[in-house]
């Protein structure tokens, strides 16, 4: 029986999530802890920014001195004189100009070649791998943050464990046993939360899930404040609004451990130049506003922001001025305590796989391990089911 079937039938056998949970896959015992355990520093915030569709890393951090790059992309390569140089070999897509101040302050880490072994080229499967931090051949149910928060619970006093802004898909917070809230807009949430009614537990699985969500709502609502007035001007548009909502949630003194925002549209199979430029500008302007607002709150030094996506894109451009699904990618880590600079390794464009994709340099689970071990003080080995070398963008 394959792994997925095993994990599903384990659920059917009534192994309650709280007891065996995701750890059944790793054969370790679960210890339920009520109070904030020693070592877990959830006062430090993680903000995840999902670049949904698979951002093209090669045009994000451009190897502007590499002739192979221009040979592979005669139409869509970023011209050398357009690039914002970060080093003598790599530079940013011009649309990311708003990130430059953060780079100059030494608070922006650029992670090169982030991927994993046996990469999967399907959106759904690959994002599942990233969200559950599984191996390519394993199918896990719970998000990596769900596992972290199950093993080392977030203090009950927090408004929620994690908040998903602007999407109904819980991603890294998928699965049961933790308080994950998905919402679009704080004020609307609070207005509607009056309708929630937690009931007695028991009954079938679907009903239990509903009752739990009702209860989470009531708790989150009792903590969240409606509005904080920021001086920072947030960019217009969906992503800017999501950043603003995230900041309002973060402003609440009760705290949350993680927030995720998503920007969609990166699946640029056709007409990439215009689309990617627009999206990257949104990302950069949004992140600039995020830093500004968090500074207003005095929280920037206690925040790490991490981008992620299901995959990068193929180095060779296709016939429609775009790129197809790829593998290793460029991502950003930024925050008050992030050690800025370039990490990992840029892809060797002369040594591509049969599929036309480069090898990875940093396993994404190492990036997660950095957050788990060094930011929160949660055992990455337990959460990720293995040892992954952290990246030194956090001390």
């Amino acid at each position: 029986m394959n792994r997925r079937a095993f994990l599903r039938s384990a659920g059917a056998l009534g192994l309650a999530r709280a007891a065996a949970g995701p750890l059944a896959a790793f054969g370790t015992a679960q210890v339920a802890v009520a109070a904030a355990p020693a070592g877990a520093r959830y006062g430090k915030l993680l903000v995840l920014v999902e670049l949904k569709g698979g951002n093209d890393g090669l045009n994000t951090l451009v190897p502007y001195t590499d002739p192979a790059y221009y040979a592979l992309r005669p139409k869509i390569a970023i011209a050398r004189d357009q690039v914002i140089p970060l080093s003598d070999r790599a530079g940013l897509h011009p649309a990311l100009a708003s990130l430059l101040p953060i780079w100059k302050d030494g608070q922006l880490a650029v992670l090169q070649g982030v991927g994993y072994p046996e990469p999967n080229l399907s959106h759904f499967r690959s994002i599942e791998i990233w969200d559950t931090a599984s191996r390519s051949e394993d199918y896990l149910q719970d998000g990596w943050l769900t596992r972290a928060f199950t093993m080392q619970p977030v203090p009950r006093s927090f408004a929620a464990d994690g908040v998903i802004v602007g999407s109904s898909d819980l991603g890294p917070l998928a699965g049961g046993g933790t308080r994950a809230i998905a919402l679009a807009d704080t004020e609307q949430f609070l207005r509607r939360a009056k309708l929630a009614q937690p009931g007695a537990a028991g009954g079938n699985k679907a009903l239990t899930h509903i009752l739990k969500v009702e209860s989470d709502i009531v708790q989150a609502a009792s903590h969240l404040e409606a509005r904080t007035a920021f001086e920072t001007e947030f960019p217009a548009g969906g992503f800017g609004n999501a950043i603003k909502t995230a900041c309002q949630i973060i402003a609440n003194p009760s705290g949350v451990a993680a927030v995720r925002v998503t920007l969609s549209g990166f699946d640029t199979h056709a007409n990439q130049p215009g689309t990617q430029a627009r999206l990257l500008a949104e990302v950069a302007n949004g992140l600039q506003a995020l830093r500004s607002a968090l500074n207003e709150l005095g929280k920037w030094n206690d925040t790490t922001v991490l981008t992620y996506a299901e995959f990068g894109r193929r180095p060779k451009e296709n016939q429609n001025n775009g790129t197809d699904h790829g593998t290793a990618n460029v991502h950003f880590a930024l925050g008050g305590r992030v050690a800025g600079g370039l990490y990992g390794a840029s892809p060797d464009l002369t040594r591509l796989s049969g599929d036309g994709n480069p090898a990875y340099a940093l396993d994404f689970r190492g990036v997660y391990a950095t957050v788990l071990d060094r930011w929160w003080g949660v055992s990455s080995r337990d959460v990720l089911g293995g040892r992954f070398a952290p990246v030194s963008f956090l001390a």
Partner: protein, 512 residues
Amino acid sequence: MPARFLAAAAALALIAGPAASAPSPMGFDDARHLLVRTGFGPTEAEVRAYAGLTREQAVTKLLRDTRTTAGTPPPDWTAETTPLRYPRPEDATPEERKAFQRLQVRHGLELRAWWVQEMLATPSPLTERMTLFWHNHFVSSQQKVRFARLMYTQNATLRANALGNFGTLLHAASKEPAMLIYLDVAQSRKGQPNENFAREVMELFTLGEGQYTEQDIKEAARAFTGWSLDRDTGQYLFRPGIHDTGVKTVLGRSGRFDGDAVLDVILAQPQTAEYITAKLWREFVSADPDPREVKRIAQVFRGQDYDVKAALRGLLLSDAFWATDNRGTLVKSPVELVVGTLRQLEVAPGSALPFAVASSGMGQNLFSPPNVKGWPGGETWINSNTLLARKQFLDRLARTDDAPLPMAMMAMAGEPLAAQEKATVASQGVQDEDKLRAQRFAQQMDRGLRNVPFDAAQWVARRPGTTPEAKLQAAQALLLPLAPVTADRPHGDVDAVAFVRATLLDPAYQLK
């Protein structure tokens, strides 16, 4: 004898099988369960029409009464045959591009309202449930396809084949112009085959993940070269000049396959029948398909040449479907919640559009599934955001004011601004007139939801039963699949409105 009783007896005579050891009539609860699971939300009368039948007779009747076309006339523009050209930056002004976008938005709204109206009015809810099922299987989204009329023709194709032959449906759905655009099929040519379509056909439409290799995809992609869209006629067109005529090997079979031949190779795999059967199980029976039952029913499905009704019959007559533990264990999708509530409360709104919009707010925007995998469904319908949207909708419905204002009919986002609004834009320097439009639209949808003609007291009074308490019990038995969860409910000498409201807001009402 009352006419109703005669009609029922006649119906029984028509469909009764051999009388030998006649199994007993299913009764109210079973009939309710069957209709809720296969429809949107049955009325008292609909349940009664089935309660006197045996399970087998009921399933036969359900499957016999399906349709292949919608009863509600579609908007006029769906019949247009103008070329499919949309204004590109190179050859159109920003004004023209905006006008095109607004037109498609407006048509898209009319289309959503049309479909919801059909769901509300159809005598065969199963037909619409299956059309919706296939919409979520052969996914395409207006976000990418843009032309609302292509979404319509695809919808019509899905309905025509929804309870027919899956093989026919697969071939037809793969060539729908909406699909060709959504999966970039038209951009696939010999030498540069587009793998996207081949991958989705195997991963999502037929075999499921892990049941094929990357090599199979590459080979299949070659077979699909030449499939394209003629933008002048808006139809599928095969272009032999860009078709790769070489030999391909797909799933162990070799030949000079074209796209249709590859589809047939895939259909020949037992896995295809199992994948579809398992998906139908999750739609109608439970969240955890029983592998042995799925295999058994899949064999019947394939044995009957992929007749969808044969698969449904197997599923709906399985022990798992009727098990008591299985009642009220599936989450209603937003459309089921919205349409089902209106049907059960016997509400006929003047415009269906606010209800399509409400469903979208709960996470199910018809004609715009989030990605190729479709709406994942099940428990994922419920999170803090969506649960509140669902409860707010129900709360408003239950609380409708006694003095309804005249409702704005079909408020269209694409309508030209009224003179007064134009003046507002000019004088107050509102930057984006689209913003004003959007605001006005939202207000009108809001009003649409609040002005629904529902009279709770009247509805309760029409319930069977001779005492007020009996009527409330009957209302609850119709609306809820399980005992209500919330302890402090109004009972006894109570206001019908408060009772209905409490029942709709009970967590159990989210389930079917």
